[in-house]
Symmetry: C2
Subunit: 292 residues, 2 copies
DNA sequence: CGGGTCTTTGATTAGGTTCAATAAGAGTGG
DNA sequence: CCACTCTTATTGAACCTAATCAAAGACCCG
């Protein structure tokens, strides 16, 4: 169902015990299977160095292969997940079985938080590549928060971060044009890749056009067309899943594309028109390519 | 700027010290100005009855009048708010000064959570009516979580609830038609009013069409037209801010309106056609009025 | 009563979806 | 290794939903 992708950790563990809520198997092969608190905090990008490296306190890792489901909607909640490596999607399923993509968790991201409230996961998480996840049993987490006050704050902070991210998403879906959404999506990806130490200028999409469209509230055709249009005016290069960022600033500030009539074959450098950077007009402006 | 609304607590406190981050004034007039832990939990609808009514532990209330700002974007964060009575909106302001409405907090809702992560509020909260809010200093809250373990869980739970709500919002914006969005909005309002002990069948909107539109990712004209259409086919009655719910089930399951040609003047009972309740077709169905 | 805000409704436009056909890969099995 | 299949991606054309532009009516408040 999901195609492979280049340069991925190709763990060849026979993934037993997966698909079930509590994975209790404790294999000892292949790479790291446990992280201590320090490593956990590093991955989560929260500033906390425990006084003493408490090596009693370990967090188990689990591996999932492309296409495998980490948890499903309605499944009893008891653990959060932190992405150590790999790419995933979280989705909602509506009454007709249609997927609505909510996020694309990658290294350092936390997911499963939506399960706390009702004690059941409200969404479904699927691996888009082979993944290495850190298990965070919720009980263990809260206990830890009680013993380490800074860590407790970090928990709240990460949850708050998620909320802010969702807010930005709502804002984007509510107000931006298709082009602006796709542009921002690319910018976000680029930045995330940079944070993870990959190239921010050339990368492979781990998700399909359909999944991107669902995430952005667009159809797959619109996503495809928009990427082609960006390619045409030289903002990016596109070849299937491979994306090259050519003009990050233009993508960052793009609101609407110039009418297609005026953008025939000018492959060179686009985006060199300055913007009137702001004002108070009622959104009916068509802020063009623009560099801030 | 914001018009008044019927039947609202008309507190006539001279609202000094408002608009600033930490409100330290402690007036002693008019109604209740402090709540204990029990009352707080009741309002928040979290199941927690403290063993002993610790009346040392009190939470201050603050009153805001229609149009007043509770906090602004970028303002240093230190307290959360729980709505004790009244109606508000939270908004994001984009680079051109356009408002994007994120939520309409009302009795029992928590807001300000987005400030935890960056230590600054990420959104702005404005009173749509006179409001009575309970202040929840974040420090005090976390301390409380440490001393009362069930309360700590409640904090996580409420934050998780917020996240789930946002997810539902994203899903709605990403996938539903204008009509379905407005219908769901009305259903949600109706349910909230019921929870608060008001009539779920007849109520006044506290927000403008513009604000509803912003919240739903639509223009004010579309909101107005959709309400008129619902009125025409007998799902609701509309008169300015006053809404009467006539067919809740139809609103609940509405996905798309029948073509306007086929809905001329049939004021009586609509919605009595059954639905093929589900299947796997790719969303291109036009699930009609429908009762589940 | 007059000015301002909010709401309704109409006419027109356009951005994005839908439907459809083709192409490009990736995986499988002979 | 190649044919076959299945999924994914691209592109075109027609259609349609919701936005935009415009004008008039309703309500509120000073």
């Amino acid at each position: 169902m999901l195609s492979t992708q280049t340069s991925e950790i190709r763990s060849e563990i026979s993934s037993s015990a997966l698909h079930s809520s509590n994975v209790e198997a404790g294999w000892q092969r292949q790479g790291k299977l446990w992280s201590n608190l320090k490593e956990l905090c590093d991955v989560l990008r929260i500033p906390f160095s425990p006084a003493h490296t408490d090596d009693e306190l370990l967090f188990q890792h689990v591996q999932f292969k492309t296409g495998q489901r980490i948890h499903t909607i309605g499944q009893p909640f008891d653990t959060l997940y932190v992405v150590h490596s790999g790419f995933l999607k979280t989705v909602l399923i509506d009454e007709f079985g249609n997927e609505q993509v909510l996020s694309f968790p990658m290294k350092g991201d936390l997911f499963g938080v939506d399960g706390i409230h009702t004690k059941r996961y409200a969404s479904e998480a699927v691996a888009l590549s082979n993944c290495d996840l850190i298990l965070l049993p919720f009980k263990k987490l809260t206990a830890l928060g009680r013993s380490h006050v800074e860590f407790e704050h970090a928990i709240y902070s990460v949850m708050s971060r998620e909320l802010v991210r969702e807010q930005a998403m709502v804002s984007m879906l509510g107000a931006l044009s298709a082009e602006a959404r796709v542009a921002r999506f690319l910018v976000n990806l680029s930045e995330r890749y940079a944070e993870m130490g990959y190239s921010s200028k050339l990368f492979n999409l781990r998700m399909t056009r359909h999944e991107i469209g669902s995430y952005l509230g667009l159809t797959l055709e619109t996503v495809s067309r928009t990427l082609s249009a960006f390619n045409e005016i030289g903002l990016i290069t596109v070849d299937q899943r491979s994306i090259g960022i050519k003009d990050l600033e233009a993508l960052r500030t793009l609101r609407r594309l110039p009418p297609s009539s005026s953008r025939a074959k000018q492959v060179g450098k686009a985006s060199k028109q300055a913007t009137t950077p702001s004002s108070d007009r009622p959104a009916s402006d068509w802020g063009q390519l623009a560099t801030a």
